[in-house]
Subunit: 397 residues, 2 copies
């Protein structure tokens, strides 16, 4: 949960409410409504088993005419067949009527249990309630962010303000759940709202690039959900940003997305550390990303980090089996700033002292050189603890 | 540990001894010696960080002139630079002198801690001791199999006898450690000895095929070691097997390799169940293998299995993110023979009863149809338990 002040963009209203989808009685319906048709872009799960809301939203983005985003938590509307699609469409139609727009101009996201039909009677009440509460203030934004949570320990929001060519632009974003970290198939959902002016095409291309260096660079357990969705809504009505201003905006959006992505990892089930893995010297950036991801996903690396063990052997050998070219005699590694392996050979170091440092720091920086190439990439992952296993095995379908 | 009777092939002598490489005082030097030059084939780790013994043995196979295999446990001789290569060569030279052969006709395997030089004084004594004990009997074979263990809970041996064209042929094989399952980087090592007559080329091609459907189809934590080695030694001096007899021999060798591979998984650290994942309906066998491996590696599937949870959502969605073509409307799944998902939709079933069945069975059979193609593959994996995490995080370099 970020304690930074909120910078809410103009042109949006937000709401969150509780309609009883969740047995816990926690908020479960979230709305974002725009005052007028705006630009929206989307990036979705690459899983081939996709939930109805993903199919629907994917077919509706990019767009220059979106009016609203409806999210429910507690039920993912996944593996629900034709009924699921009909239900997703019906909830969009209901909100469209309340907002006064075409149902195709509403986007929808769902997260929660899969294989169970949406409780339509409850959701109908929830959408109506939430619509009645819409407001452009911090409380409304926070309530909207609360209502997309499933097993997240905290709500996840980030916002910023930047000045581009004398114009003040704001971005406020919310997110929930990193990967399929939870018994009920937690999903990564995020909506980034801005009052910048963007073309439909710029928004879509930018969002794909932003996702690739933020949400696509984090992993809790490597399990891609059926419902993952990242949306960008841009409400500006001036001339669209271009040139340097567009690039500066993208840099800010990227920074915000990385902050949110790291929040997701830090809140991974059972996680006690975030690993930041920076690979350099690879044959290309893509190669560096694959190596970083392989190190990040290794259960032996993840358990070493949770145990405060500067285990160079596990890290170096994970790089070695990533299927990417490396130069063994050039491999070098530092952990928390301490060099422990160089030119393909372990260095002598004070393991007890470094272990103490690792245990004391919530973020473990791993710097790994794999050769003399120019490729580099950063990846974030949580460590693997007995709590992760306990949460995910002490649950019965 | 198999309780089947041993069928020892002719032409080999075996020995295991203790020379103090391991602090535990357990056996750590193992020898297999042939009476005359024989055919040997090898399949090695695909990790780009490879230990000196792998580099050496890889350069010496396939061969028709191998006389001996020397294995030490307790020290992997990995990440040990030029000294490591010199030490590996020196141990081969010592054994070659005792056996009376060229040092290039000795193969070598090591497993244990990495980054530490081999304790050459101890190994020299061990090789001499073991050479003095060589014998062709069950006790000697079992002692040789004991001496390649690291953290394996049991020794792993399998053997069989078959009649090909009126000739009796025997195969006896030993193995240790599944993947990098242990704090000290356990390695998969296996030697399969037979008195069949094989050409060098047939032996090498057959061993690669056998590895692909056995040792390459099992996973504990997906971490590929720097030292993995599989050897086939064939001592027969008659006309080499060909045609049907060769095919029948390969079938028996494959069966034995799969039995050993499953022993490795069952002995994975903390493992309480073996998952057998059979994927059908894929676009090709390779595609089926990738899907099966993705399901096998998912921490959410592995924790569900350890918890006795018939969680179709985790299994089906893992198939969906494997990056292989699937037909969602054709997806069907059964667990322990109980159909729980069909035609892309969950079925209603007695979850408590199926969970009870899962908890009671050491092997969980997962049958997954992903489409209407002809591709199929089987993969074996261990489940993920809190014990795995505890073993691998409560260790300090």
């Amino acid at each position: 949960m970020s304690n930074s002040p909120l910078f809410l963009p103009r042109g949006f209203r937000f709401a969150g409410t509780t309609c009883g989808i969740k047995a816990s009685g926690k908020p479960d319906v979230s709305l974002i409504v725009s005052d007028r048709p705006i630009v929206a872009a989307g990036v979705y799960t690459t899983n081939q088993i996709v939930a109805a809301p993903v199919v629907l939203s994917r077919s509706r983005t990019p767009s220059a005419a979106i009016r609203a985003v409806l999210t429910n938590s507690g039920n993912a509307n996944a593996c629900t067949g034709e009924q699921g699609m009909a239900d997703a469409k019906a909830t969009c139609a209901q909100l469209a009527e309340l907002v006064g727009c075409n149902e195709n101009d509403v986007l929808v996201m769902s997260t929660g249990v899969i294989g169970k039909p949406l409780p339509m009677d409850k959701i109908r009440v929830g959408v109506e309630q939430a619509h009645g509460k819409l407001a452009n203030d911090d409380t409304a934004f926070i309530e909207a962010a609360e209502a997309i949570r499933t097993t997240d320990a905290d709500r996840k929001t980030e916002s910023c303000e930047l000045t581009l060519g004398g114009q003040t632009i704001r971005i406020a974003a919310m997110a929930k759940g990193a990967g399929m970290i939870a018994p009920n198939m937690a999903t990564m959902l995020s909506v980034m709202c801005t009052d910048a002016s963007l073309t439909e095409q710029d928004a879509q291309q930018m969002l794909a690039r932003v996702a690739n260096v933020s949400f696509n660079r984090v992993s809790v357990d490597g399990h891609t959900s059926t419902n993952d969705t990242l949306l960008l809504l841009a409400s500006g009505s001036d001339d669209p940003l271009s040139g340097d201003a567009l690039a500066q905006f993208e840099a800010s959006l990227t920074e915000l997305a990385i902050k949110l992505a790291k929040q997701l990892v830090a809140d991974g089930e059972g996680a006690t550390h975030v690993m930041q893995i920076h690979v350099v010297g690879a044959s290309s950036d893509t190669s560096a990303e694959i190596i970083a991801k392989t190190v990040a996903a290794s259960p032996l690396v993840k358990t070493a980090i949770s145990g405060g063990d500067p285990n160079w052997g596990r890290i170096v050998s994970a790089a070695g089996y990533a299927g990417q070219p490396i130069e063994p005699s050039q491999v070098a590694l530092s952990v928390c700033g301490q060099s422990i392996y160089d030119k393909g050979t372990p260095l002598s170091f004070d393991a007890a002292s470094l272990s103490g440092t690792m245990k004391a720091h919530p973020q473990i920086d791993i710097e790994l050189r794999v050769g003399s190439g120019a490729g580099e990439a950063t990846y974030w992952s949580s460590d693997l603890t007995t709590d992760y296993v306990r949460f995910n095995s002490e649950y019965t379908t």
